[in-house]
């Protein structure tokens, strides 16, 4: 379990991280979300012990993070690149050796990962001879080859085609079932929505929203329904239960007052018009992200 308590990081006059706290449980993916320059990378760097926090504490498995934790942390940075003129296997063994793996273990693990990600044929090629996607796979292997218990992925999906994205997603999910502690930092809200149980949304170094994704959605004011019907939509404005609605060709997205039970509303409306579709809609994480960032920036 990773606990971050009241983390503050100040660079000269700028406050990059302003009193952030969160907890990441083993066996789940924690989403660290926010726009560019929100303070995600700084937060990650303090967890990695690359930067010293100005104040606050970071505790992993009951002990504050120190250099001793290097060998149990795996980190995939956002921007990718490797030693272009070096051989794939040499690079992997080097990174594994930096995490205190013996040469023999390093080679064995590297080989089995290369096989698992279907790129074993490139083992003895130079990095620059590989496609961009395959280079990213090598970097992913370099980040996880030492079987770390705390994993930090910064935008792990960018640069992968849909097939490889699926492969990476499956890989990350396999780490969840192994009980690893995982932090995922990304802009891709659809993926975060599918993978993360807990999220922390930050902007300008401050926490805007945090907790279970399902709770965040509920709190966001999620009394939304989608209604499909035949005929004119002007009748919708007659209902006092409706706060606002957006109409499209065959349906309307309607936001109801929080005290209205959607099924009661359906009963009431069904007498007036011919309904051909009715569903309860959760707000997408994407929508929440945009609205919350907008609100906090105002």
């Amino acid at each position: 379990m990773l606990i971050v308590n009241n983390l503050v990081k100040r660079f000269n006059s700028t406050l990059a991280v302003d009193n952030i706290s969160f907890t990441v449980n083993p066996g789940e993916i924690f989403g660290l979300l926010g726009p560019n320059g929100a303070g995600k990378t700084t937060t990650i760097r303090t967890i990695l012990n690359i930067l010293k926090p100005t104040s606050g504490e970071i505790i992993f498995n009951g002990k504050p993070i120190t250099y001793e934790y290097y060998n149990v942390i795996g980190y995939l940075p956002e921007e990718r690149g490797l030693y272009k003129r070096s051989k794939v296997i040499d690079v992997l063994v080097y990174f594994a050796a930096l995490k205190n793996l013996s040469n023999r273990n390093a080679t064995n693990f590297a080989d089995s990962w290369l096989k698992r990600l279907n790129i074993f044929e490139y083992r003895d090629k130079k990095i620059e001879q590989l496609s961009k996607g395959n280079q990213q796979k090598i970097q992913l292997i370099a980040a996880i080859i030492h079987n770390p218990s705390l994993l930090i992925f910064d935008e792990p999906f960018t640069g992968f085609d849909p097939i490889n994205q699926q492969e990476v997603k499956d890989l990350i999910l396999s780490f969840v079932s192994e009980g690893k502690t995982i932090i995922l930092s990304t802009h891709q809200m659809e993926l975060a929505e599918k993978l993360c149980e807990d999220i922390l949304l930050i902007n300008n170094g401050k926490a805007i929203s945090s907790g279970k994704l399902s709770n965040i959605k509920k709190n966001f004011g999620g009394n939304n329904i989608r209604l499909g019907f035949a005929g004119d939509n002007t009748f919708l404005s007659q209902f006092s239960e409706i706060i606002k609605y957006d109409s499209y060709n065959n349906y309307s997205d309607i936001q109801l007052r929080d005290d209205i039970i959607p099924s009661e509303f359906l009963k009431k409306i069904i007498e007036k018009i011919e309904v051909n579709h009715f569903s309860i809609v959760e707000p997408s994480l994407n929508k929440i992200f945009i609205e919350l960032i907008k609100k906090s920036s105002d």
Partner: protein, 414 residues
């Protein structure tokens, strides 16, 4: 701790030692320097091995016999005469006609050239050597010597001085240069060889510093721009990384030195270089290694602040210029050991290696001075490494604009 440093240094070493650029520089650099420094002396020493036929067009008719006799003394290594002189007066033609024929013979390579001698007034001669190339310094010099001797002899004889006197005057005094070393023994090593050897060492040091410095900075830029550095510093401390890099670079330097020593030894074996040239080899090597370490640690600190190739190139160029500075003051330094600039450069860490490499071979440097300058070097290496480590720790993680000196100062203070 130690294991990671070794892992990093071995990676830095092996990945660089394998590059084609390194292998090429390893062999090309000393070959280039040796060629440039030794070739002129090799070329000068070479004698023309064949007999030269030279025509003499002497309008007065007095000089031919004298010259023919005088030139008997120049022999080829095989004992034969070096020159065969032909009297062109024997050709039955006018003066201009003979010249025309002789010019043709020169162009046809029948004769190497011919000498025209005209008496203008009493002892004043006009002489012209015509051949199909310039640069017949040796033969022209010999003609001049012979003609001048003849003239001097004539003048002296007319004044009633016995010809024996002239021969005594002709005995030249040749000054031999010898360097006195500590033990009071004179060294036979000729001055130019020693001087060139020092310059060779300085050039090697400079090439090595520039080359490995550039390699180091370039790999650091690669690591920074690809954010590899973040994976590295989340696996090892910045100090481990810095020490590993320095160690790897030093290993690279040692490999270079070892191979160069081998080349140097094979040169001694082929007697292109006298063995005495390596008399000061131990202090020279020490200065060389200290100088290399000093600049390497400087490069690590500075290298971590740059983000682009161009910036890196500027910095390496400036640093190598500083390294070359002592060569500029080399001549005055040799002529006057107490030259104030030399003294100052002998105590500045940036220039100690080059100045001392130079002075070791051309002056008598006291052991105390050697000891003292080496202490300065060791001390500065420690200080520079510490400061570089501080810059490195922050520099490797800062992207974008190049930090100002003020910012770097702040990093050092942190």
């Amino acid at each position: 701790m130690m294991k990671k440093i070794i892992t990093i240094s071995m990676w830095e070493y092996l990945e660089k030692v394998k590059t084609k650029a390194f292998i090429i520089s390893l062999i090309i650099t000393p070959l280039l320097i040796i060629t440039v420094t030794l070739l002129p002396s090799l070329l000068l020493r070479e004698e023309r091995p064949q007999v030269e036929v030279i025509g003499i067009l002497d309008t007065s008719g007095i000089y031919f016999d004298y010259l023919e006799q005088e030139f008997q003394k120049y022999k080829l290594p095989n004992g034969r005469n070096n020159y065969v002189l032909v009297n062109l007066n024997q050709i039955d033609s006018t003066y201009e006609g003979i010249k025309k024929i002789a010019d043709k013979d020169v162009l046809k390579n029948l004769i190497s050239g011919y000498l025209i001698i005209e008496v203008i007034e009493k002892e004043f001669l006009f002489a012209e050597y015509r051949s199909n190339l310039f640069g017949n310094f040796k033969v022209v010099g010999r003609f001049e010597e012979a003609l001048n001797y003849f003239k001097t002899k004539n003048v002296l004889e007319k004044a009633g001085v016995p010809s024996r006197v002239l021969d005594e005057i002709q005995e030249r005094t040749i000054i031999q240069q010898r360097k006195i070393s500590g033990g009071g023994k004179a060294s036979d090593l000729d001055f130019l060889t020693t001087f060139f050897l020092s310059v060779v060492f300085i050039l090697l040091l400079m090439m090595m510093v520039v080359y490995s410095g550039q390699m180091l900075v370039r790999s650091m830029i690669e690591e920074k721009s690809s954010r590899l550095i973040e994976m590295l510093v989340s696996s090892s401390t910045p100090d481990e990384l810095l020490t590993g890099k320095l160690l790897g670079l030093s290993l690279l330097g040692i490999t270079q030195i070892l191979i160069w020593i081998l080349i140097g030894m094979s040169l001694v074996a082929t007697s292109l270089l006298p063995i005495t040239a390596f008399k000061n080899i131990i202090p020279m090597l020490l200065y060389f290694i200290l100088g290399f370490l000093f600049y390497a640690s400087l490069f690590v600190g500075i290298g971590s602040t740059v983000n682009t190739e161009q910036e890196a190139q500027h910095i390496t160029t400036y640093l190598s210029l500083i390294l070359m500075l002592p060569v500029v003051v080399a001549m005055p330094a040799i002529q006057n050991p107490d030259f104030i600039v030399t003294k100052i450069f002998s105590y500045i860490p940036l220039t100690i290696p080059t100045v001392m490499l130079l002075r070791l071979n051309v002056q008598n440097v006291s052991n105390l001075e050697i000891f003292f300058t080496m202490i300065i070097m060791v001390f500065s290496i420690i200080v520079v490494t510490k400061v570089s480590a501080k810059i490195f720790r922050i520099g490797i993680l800062s992207y974008g604009n190049k930090p100002s000196l003020k910012e770097i100062y702040k990093w050092i203070k942190e």
